[in-house]
Symmetry: C2
Subunit: 317 residues, 2 copies
C-alpha cells in the first residue's frame, strides 16, 4: 500500500500548526430527511475553503530543507494551487503555478493574493505539463501532484482522523471521488482507527471513471466527465486506484439532479455554503440509503469545500 495509517498520523502532527481543525456539524432536521444520523466534517471552513490545504501542507512540510529551498510547482489551477501557495508561504519558499492564459480571473487573483508565482501558458494540458517541466528543470523545484502523491493522500486523510476523533461511534464514512486523494486518505485513516467501519465512495454518474475502475479492476483514464461537481472531473490516480480497490466496502454513483437537490438541502438546513462536490455523498444517502444499508446508521461525511460562484447557483435558471 502506498500510504499507511501511520503516515496519516504523521501528517496530522506535521500540518497541525498551519491548518484549521474544522468543526463537525449535525442537524436533527437533516437527519430526518436523510434517514441517517449524519456528522458533517466541514472542510468548507478549512484554510483556502477546501480540504486541499491538508495535503498541500503535508507535501510541502515533508520536503527536505534543501529541496524546499528550490520551491514547489503545480499546473493544477484550482484549490490545489491555492493550497500549495499557502503552504509554501508558511514554509517561506516559492510556489510556481502554471495556469492557462484563459484561467478565470478569480483563480488568478486567489493565487496572486497567496503570493504564488504565476506562469501563463496555452490552454492545453500539454502546454501546462511542459510549463511545469521547464520550471522543474530550470529551478529544481519539486512538482507536487494534486492527488496522486502519497504525501497528498496522507494529508487529506487527516480530515477523517479528526472526524473520528470527534464522532468515534460512526458506523460508516462517505466521501466523494475525483482524482481519489481524499477518498484514499479517508479510507486509510478510517480503516486504521476503526477496522470495522464501512467505507463508501461516491461519485457523479456522469463522471464515474473511478466507479468503473473500482468495479472492473482496470483503471479508466480516458473518460469524458460531464458533471456540475467540478472538483470531481479529474481521472482517478494510480496510487488511489490501488488504495480504493483494497479498502472500499461500497461505491455508488448519483444523478446530477440528486447533487443539486442535496446541495440545496445542505445550504438551506445546515446553513453552510458547500460546493457541488460536497453534495455528492449527501445525494448518495438520498438515492441509495436503503441499498447501502445505512438507514438509521451513524454516517460521517467529508464536506470537501465551499468555493462556489455565488452568481451562478445550480438551482437557479
Amino acid at each position: 500500500m502506498p500510504v499507511c495509517g501511520d503516515d496519516v498520523l504523521a501528517a496530522a502532527a506535521r500540518i497541525q500548526p498551519y491548518v484549521h481543525r474544522t468543526p463537525v456539524l449535525h442537524s436533527q432536521r437533516l437527519d430526518a430527511l436523510l434517514g441517517v444520523r449524519a456528522a458533517f466534517k466541514c472542510e468548507n471552513f478549512q484554510r483556502i475553503g477546501a480540504f486541499k490545504a491538508r495535503g498541500a501542507h503535508n507535501a510541502v512540510f515533508s520536503l527536505s530543507s534543501e529541496a524546499a529551498q528550490r520551491g514547489v510547482v503545480t499546473h493544477s489551477s484550482g484549490n490545489h494551487a491555492a493550497a500549495l501557495c499557502l503552504a509554501a508561504r508558511h514554509r517561506g519558499i516559492a510556489a510556481h503555478i502554471v495556469m492557462p492564459d484563459n484561467a478565470p480571473r478569480a483563480k488568478v487573483e486567489s493565487v496572486r493574493r497567496l503570493g504564488g508565482h504565476i506562469q501563463f501558458c496555452a490552454p492545453t494540458l500539454a502546454a501546462r505539463e511542459a510549463g511545469a517541466a521547464a520550471i522543474v528543470r530550470d529551478s529544481g523545484a519539486t512538482l507536487i501532484h494534486p492527488y496522486d502523491d502519497p504525501r497528498i493522500i496522507a494529508g487529506q486523510g487527516t480530515a477523517a482522523l479528526e472526524l473520528l476523533d470527534d464522532a468515534p461511534e460512526l458506523d460508516a464514512i462517505l466521501a466523494p471521488v475525483g482524482g481519489g486523494g481524499l477518498m484514499a486518505g479517508t479510507a486509510i485513516a478510517a480503516r486504521h482507527l476503526k477496522p470495522d467501519i464501512r467505507i463508501v465512495a461516491t461519485e457523479p454518474a456522469q463522471a464515474d471513471d473511478a466507479f468503473r475502475s473500482w468495479r472492473s479492476g482496470a483503471r479508466v483514464t480516458d473518460a469524458v466527465p460531464n458533471t456540475i461537481a467540478d472538483g470531481l472531473r479529474t481521472m482517478l490516480g494510480a496510487h488511489n486506484f490501488t488504495i480504493l480497490r483494497a479498502l472500499l466496502d461500497d461505491f455508488v454513483t448519483v444523478s446530477e439532479a440528486g447533487i443539486v437537490q442535496a446541495m440545496r438541502l445542505v445550504w438551506e438546513i445546515l446553513k453552510i455554503v458547500i460546493e457541488p462536490s460536497s453534495a455528492v455523498p449527501v445525494a448518495a444517502l438520498l438515492e441509495h440509503r436503503e441499498r447501502l444499508g445505512l438507514a438509521g446508521q451513524r454516517v460521517g461525511i467529508i464536506v470537501t469545500g465551499g468555493n462556489v460562484d455565488l452568481d451562478h447557483l445550480p438551482w437557479q435558471p
Copy 2:
C-alpha cells in the same frame, strides 16, 4: 431596568437543554478586509435557524405549570413563531400561531412541521391582534410578544454570554436592531460580564426607527421601514428602548448596498448562509470602522440567523 444580568444567567441555565451552543467562527481573510479581528457568533446554526429559539425557550420555560398547561400564543409569523412552536413542543404544551391567510407557504409549513396550531386571519395587524386576543380569552393561553418581553430579552442575551465565554478578550460587541430584543439582551449580558466593553447597535438607514429613538430620546413608533433586512422592519419595543438608551456606547446605520456587500462577503469567505439582518453589523464595519474607533480591535458580532430564500439572493438580478 426591566432585565438584569442575573436574568440572562438564569435564562442560560433554563434553556441550555433545548438550544444549541453555537460555534464562534473567525477568518483571517475576512479580518483583513474588515480591518478588525472579528468573532462571529453563529446563531444561523441555532435551532430553527435563528437566535429567536433562545428567547422563546426562556419565555416558555419561565411559565408556571398552571399557565403553561393553557398554552402560548403569538401573531408573529416568522422565526419567533417557529421558535415558540419548538419551545412549546419541548415543554409538551400547545402553541397557537395567528397568521395572515396570505402568509408565505414556507412559513406555514415551518409552523406545521413544528406542531403549531395555525389560525388564519385577514392580512392586517388588527385582525392578527384580534385573533390572538380571542385565543387568549377562550383558552387562557399566554401571549408571548416577539421582542418586547423581559423573558424574551433575557433569553436573547444568552448568545452574547456564550460569545464572551468563548472570546473573553473582545473590545466591542455589535448586533442589529429590529424590535430590539436581541440588542437589549446583548447589551445587558455584555455589560454584566465585561463592564468596559463597547456596545454598538447597528440598523439599516432605511429602517432607522431605533437609531432615531436612541438619539432623540423619544421612541419612534410610526416609521415605514424599507430594507432588504426583513428581520429588522419592526419598531423598537418600549422595554428595549429603555435598555438601549441606558447601555449603548454607539449606534450606526448602514446602506442597503453595504448590507448586500457584507452578506455576500460572509457567504463567500466564511462559507456560511446568513440572512440580510446578520450582515448589518458587518456592513457597519465596512462603512464606519474608523469613525467607531474599531480599526484593529477585537469585535464580536451576533449573526442572527440563516433563514433566506435561496431562489432570490439580493446580489442577483
